[in-house]
Symmetry: C2
Subunit: 203 residues, 2 copies
C-alpha cells in the first residue's frame, strides 16, 4: 500500500486558520466556511475581503462616546440637539441602537464595548473606564444612567462604575428592572418577580 | 424630544453585510463578528483579510480530481504511487481526507465539491459531472467507487452517477452501508439495521 500525505492547498489551510478568529467558529465550521467562500461564492468572498480591509482602515472609536465611527466624533456626539447633561452607559453599539429605538432618550452615550469579566481577563481599563471617568467629570454631565445588561457581568460592571462615579460626587442611576411590558406574572421567572416586588413604586 | 438617526460607521455596516456570505451567519451573528473583529482582535482581522485575499488569488481546482490546489494538479494526482485504475468519488475535500486517513485506499479521487440538490438549484453541471464523465472514461480508470454520504442527497447523487457511468460500460461500486464498527444493535437505528440485514454477506 502506498501512502501520501493528504493533499492540501496551503492558502486554503491559512484561510481556515484565519477564520477561527470569528466568535463561535471552530475548526469544522471554519473549514465549511472556507469551502463556501472559495467554491460557492467567490464574489461574496471578494466583497468580504474588501469590506474587512476597508473597515480596518476607516472604522475607529468616537473620541467622546467610544462608539464605532469613521470621523473624529460620531454623528450623535456632534449633534447639537442632544441633552449633554445626561450620559447613558451601554455595553455595545447594538445596545445603543436599542435605546435610540425607544425614542425616549435624548442624552449622550458612552459605549463600553464590553463588560467587566475578570475570568476572561477583561478589567476596568479594557472597557475604557478611565476614559469614561474623564468624560463623566467634564463638568457638563449631571447624571450618568447605567444601562448595562441585567446579567451577572452587566450587573457587576454597573456596580463598579456606580462606585467609581459616586465617590467623585456624580449622580448615578440604573435603568429599572421588573416585569416586562405585556408580561404575565404566571410566566415571569421568580427572580424577576421578586425584584419587581422589592422595587415596587408608590402610586 | 430631539430625534437623530442611530449613528453608524458605513464601513462597519458594509462589513456586517459582507460577513453574511458565510454559511449559517445571520444579521445578529454578523454584527457580533464585526464587533469582535474591529474591537477585540484587529490583528486577527488583518490576518483574515490577508488570508482571504491570498486564498482567492492562489487556490484553484486540480484539473484532474477537482480538489482545491495551488498548482495545475494536486500532489495526490501528481503522485506516481497511486493506483490509477481506481477512482473514488467524494462530496468534499474533508471527505477525501477522511478516506485517506483510513490508509486503506490507494487509488485516485474525484471531488464533487457538493452534491446534487435540485431544491437548491444544484444540478449535474454544478458538481462537475461532465468533467467526471471525461475523467472516468479516459481509458485508465477501471472502477469507480461512489463514496458520497448516505444522506438523501448523497444517495441520489450516487444513483445519478452510477446510471451515467454504467450506461457507458464503466464498473461502478458503492461503499458498504451497515452497522458501524463497535456498533451495538440495541442502539443502531432501524433503517441502518434493516439495510444491514438486506445487504448481509455470506461467510
Amino acid at each position: 500500500m502506498t501512502k501520501e500525505p493528504v493533499p492540501t492547498a496551503q492558502g486554503l489551510e491559512r484561510l481556515v486558520e484565519a477564520l477561527r478568529v470569528l466568535p463561535g467558529v471552530g475548526p469544522k465550521s471554519a473549514q465549511r466556511m472556507a469551502y463556501q467562500l472559495l467554491q460557492r461564492d467567490r464574489a461574496g468572498a471578494d466583497q468580504l475581503a474588501v469590506s474587512l480591509r476597508h473597515a480596518l482602515d476607516t472604522v475607529r472609536h468616537c473620541a467622546k462616546c467610544n462608539n464605532f465611527t469613521e470621523g473624529e466624533l460620531c454623528s450623535l456626539c456632534e449633534s447639537s440637539r442632544r441633552d449633554s447633561t445626561l450620559l447613558c452607559i451601554v455595553e455595545t453599539p447594538a445596545d445603543l441602537a436599542m435605546v435610540e429605538q425607544t425614542s425616549s432618550y435624548s442624552g449622550m452615550y458612552f459605549v463600553l464595548m464590553g463588560r467587566l469579566s475578570p475570568l476572561d481577563g477583561v478589567g476596568p481599563r479594557d472597557i475604557g473606564l478611565d476614559r469614561l471617568l474623564a468624560r463623566a467629570t467634564d463638568g457638563e454631565v449631571q447624571e450618568v444612567i447605567l444601562a448595562t445588561n441585567f446579567t451577572n457581568e452587566g450587573e457587576a460592571t454597573a456596580h463598579y462604575i456606580a462606585e467609581m462615579l459616586r465617590s467623585r460626587g456624580i449622580r448615578v442611576s440604573r435603568i429599572a428592572r421588573g416585569v416586562p411590558l405585556g408580561g404575565e406574572l404566571e410566566y415571569v421567572d421568580a427572580g424577576t418577580l421578586s425584584q419587581a416586588l422589592m422595587e415596587r413604586r408608590a402610586l
